[in-house]
């Protein structure tokens, strides 16, 4: 992807080339490298920012404590459940929507534009939106459901339901993301493939399972993995809608780290969580990059 162009450069060009990269390095240093290294260091200390004491070196204690911490295990479990549920729903519905929008008339084009909206608004805004609509007493959702005879549901206050509500709002926001990427991949399928299948009398459903799915599979896999990784970054929606509650029913890793580190100022402990988190995520991401480059070669 990075193809360099070969021309002879003079000395000034060489110096300027490096100078042009300098700001990026400085920003990354301040905002990424130093904090990462610093966090790694802190993770071996017992250190609470609000107490007037100096950091105490405790080795791996923070890491060991993590696995004894029920709240951490709960957040991890919630986060994994959330990731699998939301990705599955988003992929299935996203593919269906993409298929339905795959023709070229103006209705589909306009519909595509409208369906994109949830994806680009602030997650804080979509959280606000749905919090209003899902309110038990004044919300429109329970009101509409009462017409089909369903009793009022506490969408966000019932610990058995809250996590599904979060999954729903996440799906509402990111189905368009899946749909738009799958759609562009469907549109790149050569027309001749589809025409040939049609002439041979294949049913549309057969064309979908035998031609469209296999051809778009690499893109679908990439999109699923991007969404899976993003599911472990979920923060805004939960912050606005449930604050991790009721109880700890919707506490997930980012909200857990936030609470430990920023609210309770347990700097060392939350750094250990973060380091463990990034280690696991890097392993997943590494697999992902390998898989992706393989898939991208197949796409061509």
């Amino acid at each position: 992807m990075l193809i360099s162009r070969s021309i002879s450069h003079d000395r000034a060009d060489k110096i300027y080339s490096w100078l042009f990269l300098l700001p990026v390095f400085v920003i990354l240093l301040i905002a990424a490298f130093i904090p990462l290294g610093y966090g790694f260091g802190l993770s071996f200390f017992k250190y609470k920012l609000n107490l007037q004491q100096s950091p105490l070196f405790v080795g791996l204690e923070n890491y060991i404590d993590l696995f004894r911490d029920e709240l951490f295990m709960q957040s991890l479990k919630n986060n994994i459940a959330f990731a699998f549920m939301s990705v599955a729903i988003e992929i299935v519905i996203g593919i269906i929507i993409a298929m339905l929008l795959s023709d070229d008339n103006s209705f589909s084009r306009i519909a595509t534009t409208f369906l994109l909206i949830p994806m680009i608004i602030a997650p804080v805004a979509s959280g606000t939106l749905w919090k209003m609509m899902l309110d038990r007493t004044y919300g429109i959702v329970n009101y509409l459901l009462s017409f089909v005879g369903l009793p009022a549901v506490s969408w966000l206050a019932d610990f058995r339901i809250a996590i599904y509500t979060i999954v729903f709002v996440d799906a509402w926001q990111f189905i368009p993301f899946v749909a738009i990427l799958v759609l562009s991949s469907i549109k790149s399928i050569p027309k001749s493939f589809l025409d040939a299948a049609r002439v041979d009398g294949a049913s549309p459903l057969k064309v979908f399972t035998r031609i469209v799915l296999p051809i778009t599979a690499p893109v679908i896999i990439i999109v699923a993995m991007v969404r899976f990784i993003d599911a472990f970054k979920v923060f805004d929606t939960i912050f606005v809608m449930t604050q991790g509650g009721p109880g700890n029913a919707t506490e997930m890793l980012p909200t857990y780290i936030y609470r430990q580190g920023i609210k309770f100022l347990k700097v060392g402990y939350s750094s250990a969580t973060a380091i463990l988190f990034i280690t696991v995520m890097s392993l997943i991401a590494w697999q992902f990059i390998r898989l992706r480059s393989k898939q991208l070669r197949r796409v061509g």
Partner: protein, 289 residues
């Protein structure tokens, strides 16, 4: 049914894979699911209190009021939040576009060893993937030590770092497409690298730079995590103010909806203006690297 199928071409053939009636029903449902929440947000913003607190809810408001917007400004600091949001988003867009295009230009047309490009490319990929929360605590601590807590500067720095990878990635694509002959010619004419960047090549990729900038604007306008961590009072953007609202005051829906409208509107406007670039920018961000 048969008639419809026969008249359509193969792309239509695909979109009717579940049958034409199912298609119409699903798409209409999907459109309602997407658009109705916005109808609800907008009408709530203009409803009087008796109507947004009504059980059963009022679907078609009978009285229209601007009081919610006035309250949001007077009582709930919406104007301050708006100014901060604009400053953060504009600041981030300018620095990211400048630094990102400089880096991309240098990577494509500059005189750098080959290896650095590979190293940078893989770094960008990694940065795109790791969760921002993992550096939150150290960043919080560093920003506090630097005395930058509750400042626009801190948020511009953080947002710039989040958006740089995408901008560099997209700008590399644009610079690669720019005609190289012009670059070569101006080199023979004795233009320095800086002059070529400023006056020759970047003007040719102006539209790409603008599209990338818009994407950055939207992302930093929407950003919440670092905004909530690094602001206390005076640098709070709209996203933080509306979130505080919900958690502290719960049910003041009118002003809350008014603020929601103010957060959503600029983004919708930008998307409407540059639909195509938006889609390709987002896809490139997800698929390339």
């Amino acid at each position: 049914m048969k008639l419809i199928k026969q008249r359509t071409d193969s792309s239509n053939y695909l979109s009717n894979f579940l049958g034409f009636p199912t298609r119409v029903v699903i798409l209409i449902l999907a459109l309602i699911m997407v658009l109705f929440p916005f109808y609800w947000l907008i009408t709530n913003a203009f409803k009087v209190e008796q109507e947004y607190f009504a059980s059963p809810p009022v679907v078609f408001p009978t009285i229209i009021t601007f009081q919610n917007f006035i309250d949001a400004v007077v009582k709930y600091e919406m104007f301050k939040g708006l100014v901060n949001s604009v400053l953060i988003a504009v600041g981030t867009t300018v620095t990211t576009s400048l630094f990102g295009s400089m880096a991309a230009y240098s990577l494509i047309n500059g005189a750098l060893p080959k290896r650095i490009k590979g190293v940078l490319a893989s770094w960008f990929l990694v940065q795109k993937m790791y969760p921002a929360i993992v550096v939150a605590v150290p960043v919080f601590y560093i920003i506090r030590t630097l005395g930058l807590m509750d400042s626009i500067t801190a948020l511009v720095i953080m947002n710039t770092s989040f958006n740089l990878p995408l901008v560099i990635l997209l700008m590399i694509g644009f610079y690669q497409e720019a005609p190289y002959e012009v670059e070569e010619q101006s080199m023979l004419d004795g233009c320095s690298l800086v002059q070529r960047y400023l006056y020759v090549t970047t003007p040719m990729v102006k539209s790409g730079l603008i599209a990338t900038g818009m994407l950055t604007f939207v992302y930093s306008w929407n950003e919440f995590l670092y905004a909530v961590i690094l602001t206390v009072n005076k640098a709070k953007p709209l996203t933080v103010i509306i979130a505080g609202f919900i958690t502290d005051k719960g049910l003041i829906w009118g002003p809350m909806a008014a603020m929601g409208c103010v957060i959503v509107f600029p983004v919708l406007l930008i998307m409407w203006l540059m639909q195509r670039d938006f889609i390709s920018g987002i896809s490139a961000g997800a698929l390339k690297g």
